[in-house]
Symmetry: none
Subunit: 138 residues, 4 copies
């Protein structure tokens, strides 16, 4: 299964729905499995800094096939890979990047930025869940 424009749009809609619900404007970036931008939306009121951060969270997640914050376990002080966050053009090893998977295969990633890290993560998880669940309904 590949990441179609329709599915990418559904991921963004789910992110925006959750963001409205908790009252925080965010930037949402959706990448495909090849780490290329598929869809992007910046809600009114989201900080400009969040453009790069949402993109980097999604990149981090797609590049490592893991939630973005998992990468911190490898590069935090005392961990075995200091400076890992400087590779791949700069990573964002904190919450808000979540892989999009279908049938156990990576098909992309979503990155969210604009709120507190816990809020961004909650929104990104809601966005990724929309991706996972929709096929079952069909």
């Amino acid at each position: 299964m590949s990441l179609t424009a329709d599915r990418a749009r559904a991921v963004i809609a789910a992110a925006e729905t959750k963001a409205w619900e908790i009252g925080v404007p965010v930037v949402v970036a959706v990448l495909d499995a090849g780490v290329h931008l598929k869809a992007f939306a910046r809600m009114d009121g989201a900080p400009l800094a969040s453009i790069d951060i949402a993109l980097k969270k999604a990149r981090t997640s797609a590049l490592f096939r893991a939630p973005s914050e998992a990468v911190w376990e490898y590069c935090k002080p005392g961990a075995p890979a200091p400076g890992l966050e400087l590779t791949n053009g700069g990573l964002a090893p904190f919450g808000g990047g979540v892989p999009l998977e279908a049938g156990g295969e990576l098909v992309g990633a979503v990155g969210v930025s604009g709120g507190a890290v816990a809020q961004d993560l909650e929104i990104a998880k809601a966005a990724a869940a929309a991706f996972h669940f929709e096929p079952e309904r069909a």
Copy 2:
């Protein structure tokens, strides 16, 4: 008037409608007046090269407040600004980037890439027109 997420979405929808009509999948990027990404969509089948090209066309248009191809008049052989296309991180001085204006004021730009240059320009113009006309109908 500023570029709201709603208006950015309308610009992308108009671009996609025209692209479907002429049968060419494209990438559409919408920037605000501060030259920051507001919305982005990559249609299924559009070449990966078009991600950067659509972004650069929109950048070129927003930076100069002009259609992207107008910049070529300043840097083409014999023109007074050779190398202008190398500034600002690299410009795309050919058709497909169109300013979004309201009340004589620049509020952003749209960039389209994926088809022949004439097709991209036609799609970008349709996208920008959707931006201009919608307010009048309200």
Copy 3:
């Protein structure tokens, strides 16, 4: 069909075989459909400049789903997309980048540099042909 390590190796072997045959040492780069490096070999005696050139030819071909020299038709003097070669981090719009396709689908690209352009192109075509034909034999 995706680009496996085995197939990438076969593409490089075919390029090296043809390069030996015509007596010119080259650099060979194989990218997947997401424009990410899969395999690479620099033959003894190939110029260092060819590292970047082979990579850029393969990138150009994968990004546009076309032979690298086809891109020149769009950016040569008088063509409709001046400066196109400056997009995507810099393109190499001359011969030696060839798409790898299977079942009408792009699965990657090979880029060759080190000889005259006609030689690079001949080698890249031989490399791509090895990719196409091998499955039929199985």
Copy 4:
């Protein structure tokens, strides 16, 4: 002794053999003494993030003529060269980059990424050993 294509291939083959043995798909990059890419292979299933990391580990090792993790001793908190990891386009000062030496002379470096740091280091050491020992057998 210089790093021939034959020896680079042997280094990659030894890395892949060890990677299969411990069951972790990796990216392997081999650079020459001039810090230029000589050979590269990405095993099926290795994360895309490992392309840049393997290249940076090999670069770090070749630039300093030392195992990549040795560089961390100079830039870790309290060490005399804070920010050293930001030089040279970004270093990867953690395990997995190993110099290739012959007769006490540096002839290149190998970088491995894809597993845990200890696994990458084990694979890189096996790869470098193949380089050292093979000549003696001849």
